[in-house]
Symmetry: C2
Subunit: 415 residues, 2 copies
């Protein structure tokens, strides 16, 4: 079964909003056995919306639209759909009650604009929105399904998960498609490709491999197609087992795994605690760790020592070390790791010190030079990296490398 | 002049990559006077690529393609373009030298796969890539321009800025389009719409308004079209001046302004320093502040006190206050703000303490309850907020609200 996603919104076309919805919806559709054949972004204009639906209908069995359902005048999707499906708007009392309930809970008053959002096309099945005022709409046109949802991710996602995907699965008889992504850290795309080329060449014909590089991470995606989900699953497992033997040290997880989550689980299982001392990453490692719900079980906190005095006064780094070796050095990052581990009284700690850039580099220590230290209950290990010239990427690469170093140290401590 | 963007890549269609390129390219095109009429994402398949170019050519004068130029087997754009333009690949010595230079600087060896990337279609003008191995390609087909670039943002962006946009401006005679976005913090979309509806209704016909809500921020985008850029600019300025009189307290900036940058500039101008003490936001405020290059001039650091002992031991929050009022309270957040301000010896400080969720809420203090305090050289102000149930959004909303509170306090200190 083929699906197409149409994102409606001038704000995407002029570049003020990144289309994260389409990516999320694609994943959901793929997992449900639908192949996404195209994603289109079009303006909030009647003719473009109708053209896009007609074009999509040539290829796709399912067409999902998002956007243009807001309370303001620039949103015209609902009117356009009425025209397309030759139907008209009618006030929906239960939709209105839901808006009132939602606003009541937040202590807001219902405006006239919001009242209009309770008007819906007569020929659609309406989809409840528990997080906002715009309902979703499900249309069936001679077996093809067309669904319109709000563009706000927070409102659209529950509609997809709770209503659209289950109903689509019932409506269509879908073939088995399986995606499995292997997450690696530590080597770039072309180097990995060289190491694993024999494995790649010997993959079964129904399994495709794609390389998905990101700063600090290369993801290897296997896509398998077939009749039977269970057979596919075993086939993919076999290939992954082979790969594990070739690059065991680079694989840290699968699919949506996150290093910060994996590290968190390792700590939780072992009842160990963690602290961080960040300089160049400025809180980003701490942010990643605490983005995981429940991280307070193992993560006690951080000292962001952007200024040298804080390295000295709070982390206890010696002035002498800073003068002799510079703040970006094995000596200082090791003292930072020990300092925060002691001060916050944790089993493990991460410390980083580097030159994020774009300024601050020198000949011996160019922008991107970064020291990372991991303190364990027994020792401190420190390593130097050269991450390049771009601030944002350096911060991200440093954080991921630090988390992966910690992961490996925790696993070593078992042996 | 009309432009269309075609993103090539199975990884986008299956949802593993968010198409941030298209958003960025749209902004650049719009600013150069090109109207983006459609963004399409299609698979790494020859027929789909050719169909998409043909479709785009019906509407657009400029077609920009990204993706499918990597060194691995799943990348087929270059071969397909050769077929489309009826040309063939030829080894390009200078492209190969550039790859060698790039790899030499990073201490890497050139692989056979990378050597293939120096093969380019004979009929194109090649575009240098200083950040990677895949060159860009510029084709002119009877006046229509078709450009193919790598999908890695870090490689594509300099090609656009340094080569494609300047060359497009030379090639076409573009009309004036002006976008100006007003950034507001503190009120939701429907409430703003009510307050400013008269202003909206009286906008000149050639100016369109769009609401772009994000967690914690509502952006108001004005799009003006006309003959003369200067006249448009004055027209838009006049409308913004009117709006400033209606909602002065909610406007914090324009276009790509970031609160963290604005706050940083205010501090820098006044030669003042800042520290933060974060609980529920876990380093996110610090990360935002330090994402700005040069922030070390005014930002000294942070104490991320995820655990209560750190609030007590490092920030000097009294045990008594925690027992009597709870960690999420005016009392504790005020002590945190004072504590970090003193300890790190800064002029200003931000402190936050809240229940980010999804667990940890109670009847009196539901998930989303957040206290924010700002310490100034003279006083501490603290306010309570109720941000809702979603962890990631709470963290973001808290951070933006805290930065905006600080911004207002700094400005008040002038008066």
């Amino acid at each position: 079964m083929k699906a197409e996603i149409i994102s409606i919104g001038d704000e995407i076309l002029i570049g003020q909003i990144v289309n994260t919805n389409a990516a999320w919806m694609s994943t959901e559709l793929n997992n449900a056995g639908f192949e996404v054949v195209r994603i289109s972004t079009i303006p909030d204009k009647k003719d473009d919306i109708i053209l896009a639906i007609n074009n999509a209908a040539k290829k796709a069995d399912v067409i999902l639209l998002t956007g243009g359902l807001g309370p303001t005048n620039d949103d015209i999707t609902k009117k356009t759909l009425c025209e397309y499906f030759n139907t008209e708007l009618a006030f929906n009392e239960s939709a209105f009650q839901q808006i009132k309930t939602l606003f009541g809970a937040r202590g807001f008053e219902v405006t006239e604009l919001n009242r209009k959002q309770a008007e819906l096309p007569k020929s659609c099945t309406s989809i409840a929105n528990f997080n906002g005022t715009a309902r979703g709409m499900w249309f069936n046109k001679k077996g093809k399904i067309i669904v319109s949802m709000p563009g706000v991710p927070f409102e659209m996602k529950p509609m997809m998960t709770d209503f659209v995907i289950p109903k689509l699965k019932k409506h269509f008889d879908t073939p088995a498609i399986l995606h499995k992504t292997i997450l690696t850290q530590g080597k770039g795309e072309s180097f990995l490709a060289e190491i694993i080329k024999d494995w790649e060449n010997e993959l079964p014909k129904n399994i495709k491999l794609a390389y998905l590089p990101q700063p600090g991470i290369v993801r290897l995606r296997l896509s398998a197609k077939g009749e039977d989900g269970e057979i596919l699953s075993k086939q993919v497992e076999t290939e992954i087992d082979k790969l594990k033997n070739i690059i065991p040290e680079y694989i840290f997880g699968y699919d949506d795994d996150k290093l910060e989550k994996i590290v968190g689980e390792l700590l939780k299982e072992r009842k160990k605690t963690l602290s961080t001392a960040e300089s160049c990453t400025g809180g980003y490692i701490s942010h990643l760790i605490t983005s995981i719900s429940g991280s307070s079980e193992y993560y006690l906190g951080s000292v962001i020592s952007y200024a040298n005095e804080i390295k000295e006064n709070i982390l206890g780094v010696s002035k002498q070390s800073i003068i002799e070796h510079g703040v970006v050095s094995r000596q200082v990052v090791t003292e930072m790791a020990k300092g925060v581990q002691e001060k916050l009284n944790t089993d493990y700690s991460i410390a980083v010190s580097g030159i994020a850039g774009p300024t601050g580099g020198s000949v011996e220590k160019p922008v991107g030079t970064t020291w990372i230290a991991i303190a364990t209950p027994e020792k401190v290990v420190a390593k130097k990296f050269l991450f390049g010239e771009h601030r944002e990427r350096n911060i991200r690469k440093t954080a991921l490398m630090a988390l992966d170093m910690l992961r490996k140290e925790i696993l070593l401590d078992e042996g």
